[in-house]
Amino acid sequence: MSTANKTFIHKHAGHCESGVMSTMLTHHGLSLSEPMAFGLSSALNFAYLPFVKLAGMPLIAYRSIPKAIIKGLQKNIGVKMKIETFSNQQKGQERLDVLLEEGKIVGAQTSVFWLPYLPEEMRFHFNGHNLLVYGKEETSYKISDPVFEHVVEASEQEFLKARFAKGVMAPKGAIYYPTYVPTTIDYENVVPKAVKTVAKRMLNTPVPIAGLKGMHYLAKAIRKLESKDRRYARLFLGHIVRMQEEIGTGGAGFRYIYASFLQESGHILNNEVLLESAEMMTAVGDSWRELALMIAKSIRSKKSESVDFEALAQKLESIADEEAVVYKKLLTAF
């Protein structure tokens, strides 16, 4: 069997889910940049969940939960998606092959650990990685992984493992494709709605684990590291950096991608406040990078030197304050 969608164009993206949706919808005639896919689905967030452990570390997230972009775009711009999951692996593979033979490009949820083209150091057990399959040649799938510069491949065997990995957020072979794609987007209405959702969420989330309160909560946790085991303390700090940069966020924990969305929206709507907010959000991203740099220095420091947890906590708190100003400004944009 040999299928490959002839018209498919791979695009390098900052993040997997927004990259998949941008490429997929653009392929179906609705030109949508990755920042637009991210922004219009209100995916920006912050969460610190000390009771949810990932490889022994608490969950720290700079965006909303997995699938939030797919769902958010359905809700906000009227795309309709079909998501199929399977209890039987064989059926899951056959169904994917049928869709590919029909000439479809298909999104898939996979585990990072089983993707053969990923460098070994980056393979960890995370089941929420999204990619596009655009063809199959013999027993090898042609894959457009948005966070890779060029297209890649995986064998039937490897891809099946990745689609049916077990554990938290098990993908259950999930594949998805659009059943309806609108030809235009009503930016005048959708942008204000999507922006306000994010601004209100970040400013007002009542629980202390999410939004700006989540950042303050994390700052407290950093202060408490003073009394913890020094190896754990350094791993904890390194974990913050990994969640901010390593997992594919477009840089500085999605803040730059969101700034890009604000800028693009500002141009489309001719909205000065959005354009100014975009610049402020860029500055926020720069601050997050400064924090990452401070953390790297403290991880690097010699065993005899103590880490200045107070300085790190204060930096994080200042970033939360900096973000607050942007969200308050965004609420006045419309």
Binding site: P35, P119, K166, V168
Partner: protein, 135 residues
Amino acid sequence: MNEQEVPQDENSIYRGQKRAVYATGQDGEYGVVASSGWDVEEEATQQAVAELERLADEAYEACVSGQASPLEFHMYDNRLDILSLSQATGLFQWRIKRHFRPEVFAKLSEKMLERYSDVMGISNDVLKTVPKRES
């Protein structure tokens, strides 16, 4: 971050690949810039990898000296810990911990071993022993 500030630190983990990051050009407009990596990120990744290697080494020594079964070594060697191994296999954590005991592990059925080897992507034969290392 503007284009010039995008780090190009040749992250060895990327193996020559590049990552897309968002940065502003000279005109202030955003675009994607391919980055070869940032030292800060690479250090954080290496730190996490080193920690897993440390745990795997400890488990290896424990196995060689007869204090632990090979299961604990293979768990860390395959980027798992007790929590994620429990979630992937559907086995309770206390059961897995019990299987860390050599005498209990030795009596496990092939079927039980398969529950472990399957989520690790290794064979039962590999799971039953630790690879030889030069001392």
